[in-house]
Symmetry: C2
Subunit: 222 residues, 2 copies
C-alpha cells in the first residue's frame, strides 16, 4: 500500500501479534536499521529489498517477509523510503526514545564500553558505572561519569528507571552480579562474561563472547 498515510489500522492489528512474531525476525531488524542508517548517511533516499539483501548477504524475499510482519512500508516499483523505514523500525524496536543503561565492571572492557560513542547516538545512555574495587570508586570514566560502588546499584536503578544492564565483570563474579541485578529490578542483561547465566524467566540475557565466534570460525578452517 502506501508509506506515510493509511496504515495505522494495519499496524495496530499487527502490533497485537507481537508475541507471535519469531524472535529470529526481531533479531534481524536492528541489522536492517543499521544498514538503512548507513545508506541515509550516504545521502540515499530510497532503497529496495534487493539492494538491502545484497548488502547484507540475505535474500530480498526474507527482508520483505520480515517487514511484512509489521505493516506495509514500501511502494511497488520504487522500494522503501529510507528515512521512513528507519522511523518505522525504530518504533517497532522501541528505540524511538532514550534507554538508560547501567554498566557493571569498570575494567579494561568496561572502560571501552563507557567510552563507546555509538551507544549514546543509538539512544542507549549509560547512566551509572559500578564496580566493587574500592581503588576505582570515584574515578572519572566515560563522558562525565564517575565509577560508583556496586552497593549503589539499587539507588542507580531507582534514580534512572533503568531496565537494562551491561555486565563486564570476570566470569567468576558474573552469576553473583546477575543475581543482584535481577534483585534490583533489571530485566535485560547484556553479558560479556564467558558464562551462561541462570536468571528468572522474566529476565532476558544476551551474550557477547568473541571466543565463541573464533571457535565457530575455526571449524571451517584447517
Amino acid at each position: 500500500m502506501s508509506n506515510e498515510g493509511g496504515n495505522a489500522v494495519a499496524n495496530d492489528a499487527r502490533a497485537q501479534e507481537k508475541a507471535s512474531i519469531p524472535d529470529i525476525v526481531i533479531g534481524r531488524l536492528p541489522v536492517y536499521l543499521r544498514t538503512l542508517r548507513l545508506l541515509a548517511d550516504d545521502g540515499r533516499e530510497v532503497t529496495s529489498s534487493q539492494e538491502l539483501g545484497e548488502h547484507l548477504g540475505i535474500s530480498s524475499a526474507q527482508i520483505r517477509k520480515d517487514l511484512s510482519h509489521f505493516g506495509e512500508f514500501g511502494k511497488q516499483g520504487t522500494g522503501y523510503n529510507i528515512e521512513f523505514l528507519c522511523r518505522q523500525l525504530q518504533k517497532i524496536l522501541n528505540v524511538d526514545r532514550i534507554w538508560p543503561v547501567i554498566l557493571v565492571g569498570a575494567g579494561s572492557l568496561g572502560t571501552a564500553i563507557a567510552n563507546y560513542q555509538e551507544f549514546d547516538s543509538s539512544g542507549f545512555r549509560i547512566v551509572a558505572v559500578l564496580d566493587e574495587d574500592p581503588q576505582k570508586i570515584g574515578k572519572p570514566i566515560g563522558h562525565g561519569l564517575r565509577i560508583e560502588e556496586f552497593a549503589n546499584l539499587g539507588k542507580s536503578v531507582a534514580g534512572s528507571g533503568a531496565q537494562i544492564a551491561v555486565m563486564a565483570v570476570p566470569a567468576h563474579a558474573a552469576q553473583r552480579v546477575a543475581n543482584e541485578l535481577v534483585e534490583a529490578g533489571l530485566n535485560s542483561i547484556l553479558c560479556y562474561a564467558p558464562i551462561t547465566l541462570s536468571v528468572p524467566s522474566h529476565v532476558r540475557v544476551e551474550y557477547i563472547d568473541p571466543v565463541v565466534h573464533f571457535q565457530h570460525m575455526t571449524y571451517y578452517l584447517n
Copy 2:
C-alpha cells in the same frame, strides 16, 4: 537433512559430511564446550544432556542430536565424560591447536582485546596489533606486544601464518581495512565495527555489535 546413508562406519563417514552439518549446530558447540569446561573446573567428571540443557536453557534432545552429527560420545545410563567430550569438541572445532590472530585497531576496545586473557587460554594467540595512527606505533600493548604500523600487515600474516583477524577500527575505516586483510590472505574476520562488510565468498566474517543486542532487547520492553 544431513544423515544420508547408514551409520555403521561412524566417525570417518561423519567427518566427510562436514559440509552438510548445519551451521547453527556448529554455532552451539563452542557454548557446549565453554559449559563443559566450567563443569570440569568445578571438579565434575560426568554430566548428562539433561543437566547441560538445564544449564543452557535448551532441550536435552537438541544437545544429543547436535552431538550425534559427529559421533557417539556418551554412554547410556551414565551420560558424558566431561574431559572426553571436551577433547572431542575441541577436535571437531579445530581448537586442539594454537591459532595466531591479528588484531587491527589499538584504540579503547583494541586495548581491552589485547589484554584479554581468555583468548590465550582458549588457544587464540594475538601475534600482532596493527594501527595506522603514527602516535601509537611502537607503544607496548597486551602481553609483550608492541603496536605496529598497519603497513606491516603482509609481513605479520606471512610471519605468523595467521588466518584470523579481529577488527576494532572505526566503522568508516572498516571496509577499507577488510579489503586489505583479504588481500593479505586472511580468511576469517571478527568485526566489532557496526557495519556489514563486503568480502569474497571464501572469507568468513562474524560480527559483534552490542547495539544490535540492545535493540533486540528493547523490542520486548516498554
